[in-house]
Amino acid sequence: MCLGIPGEIIEVVAETPDLARVNVVGARRLVNIGLLEGETIEPGDWILIHVGFALSKIDESEAQAALEFLEGIGQAYEEELAAMRASSLN
């Protein structure tokens, strides 16, 4: 039930602006974007798909921030590993 998957908007269907075609690594489906009324949705945007509806537009800057945080933690970890290895050689 929680199943929500990120997909990329390929096109917004002109005749039915409530519908957009979405691509999930090659699997394509029409999704209802009516719940995102008020947001501009364009090809190239990423949305969260749940049971055939778009629930949310993915905020790419937040995604980037999240990844940078994880990179940072990963970096700190790698540096510690390297430091420990270097110190163990003494």
Partner: protein, 375 residues
């Protein structure tokens, strides 16, 4: 800074520690799983046809129980028989796929390739097929001709002849278009016995190519899901692929299985269970096309359980792994063959998966099928 908040649930001092208690429960469960299967339902449900736990229970409790004989009880893909000094393999398969026509093939292709493959998995050279049709009143003859033309072409490619058959017609509404059964006979011209029960710790598990393509193709072709993807069924005859493998490393192959209903996960479970070993799979090593991954993620299905119709799983001795991969990759159908797992002694009968994330989980048999009427 708050002081530590200790649990108010105190451990019962007379009980063994938690991890031991959990282990006791797991042991109890393993015993329960080994009990003789009983069919509790009064009516057959779709789960019984899915190739998973419910199917197995039905087969063992109803069919094997009634037909009881040593050959049947082995429950391999085909039966190995001795007839007048010749060693033959015999197999049968029925096809109820819906829709009948899908990208990459149709029920006719499946009907020939499926049975050819079951024979090839026994290590046999496929020779002759029978084909029985149950056709629904009102089914267009043109569609029947298309199906039969596909079967003829598939038979030629596979080097087999369809030598006998049967046709029945049932009233409109009683047959969903067309069902086909094919049975096949092949000759076991190699001095080897392949069996799911012969696998040993140390062996390796190899898959011949990317998984899940047939099942997802058919599911999408049904049209109910409105998902559109550039994907085709992988239906293909595997007789040449297996011949090449057996020529290279024949005496060191434990068993071969084609990954149809229930997918690679089901085969690994059958092997682990038949041989009483554990199979440790590596998720990152399993080849899957991105579009199959995408469709599976959208639908909440695990590609490991999705049917293929032109892929096989080979369990071989570890020392033969490299030669096996070379032999498979030499053939167009085996270009992406990959080593996906290793056999260990513990825990017996269980398939474990090291996830791409690095954690470990079990891969059990499913009860039903996420994808009904795939083949």
């Amino acid at each position: 800074m708050t002081t530590g908040q200790m649990d108010h649930q105190t451990e019962d001092l007379h009980q063994p520690p938690q991890s031991d208690r959990e282990r006791q429960v797991l042991d109890r469960i393993e015993k329960a799983r080994k009990r003789k299967p009983k069919v509790r339902e009064e009516l057959v449900t779709l789960a019984h046809g899915a190739g998973g736990k419910a199917s197995r229970t039905l087969i063992e409790a109803v069919f094997v129980d009634a037909f009881r004989n040593p050959t049947l009880e082995q429950l391999e893909d085909g039966a190995s028989l001795e007839v007048g000094g010749a060693r033959l393999a015999l197999t049968t398969d029925s096809f109820v796929v819906s829709p009948l026509f899908f990208p990459g093939g149709n029920i006719g292709d499946l009907a020939v390739n499926g049975t050819v493959n079951d024979l090839a998995m026994c290590g046999a050279k496929p020779l002759y097929l029978s084909s029985g049709f149950v056709i629904e009143e009102g089914f267009p003859v043109a569609n029947l001709q298309r199906i039969v033309a596909s079967m003829a072409a598939a038979a030629t490619t596979a080097g087999v002849q369809i030598v006998t058959g049967d046709t029945k017609v049932v009233q409109r509404g009683k047959g969903d278009g067309c069902f086909i059964n094919t049975s096949g006979v092949g000759v076991l011209d190699r001095p080897l016995t392949l069996s799911a029960g012969s696998v040993q710790p140390g062996d390796v598990v190899i898959v011949s190519g990317p998984i899940g393509e047939h099942g997802i193709t058919v599911l999408l072709a049904r049209g109910d899901l409105d998902i559109d993807a550039d994907l085709e069924s992988d239906t293909a005859p595997l007789h040449e692929l297996t011949a090449g493998l057996l020529d290279a490393v024949g005496d060191r192959v434990r068993c071969l299985r084609d990954a149809t209903r229930g997918g690679v996960a089901t085969i690994c479970n059958e092997v682990a269970s038949a041989s009483g070993v554990a199979i440790h799979l590596d998720e990152a090593a399993v080849p899957v096309e991105p579009v199959v991954t995408g469709a599976c993620e959208l639908l909440g299905i695990d590609p490991l359980y999705v049917a293929c119709e032109g892929r096989m799983v080979a369990v071989v001795e570890a020392a033969a792994a490299d030669d096996a991969l070379v032999a498979l990759r030499r053939h167009p159908l085996g270009g992406r063959a990959a080593l996906i797992g290793r056999v260990q002694a513990d825990p017996p009968g269980i398939v474990l998966l090291k996830t791409a994330f690095g954690g470990t989980r079990i891969v059990d048999l499913l009860v039903g099928d996420p994808l009904p009427r795939i083949c």
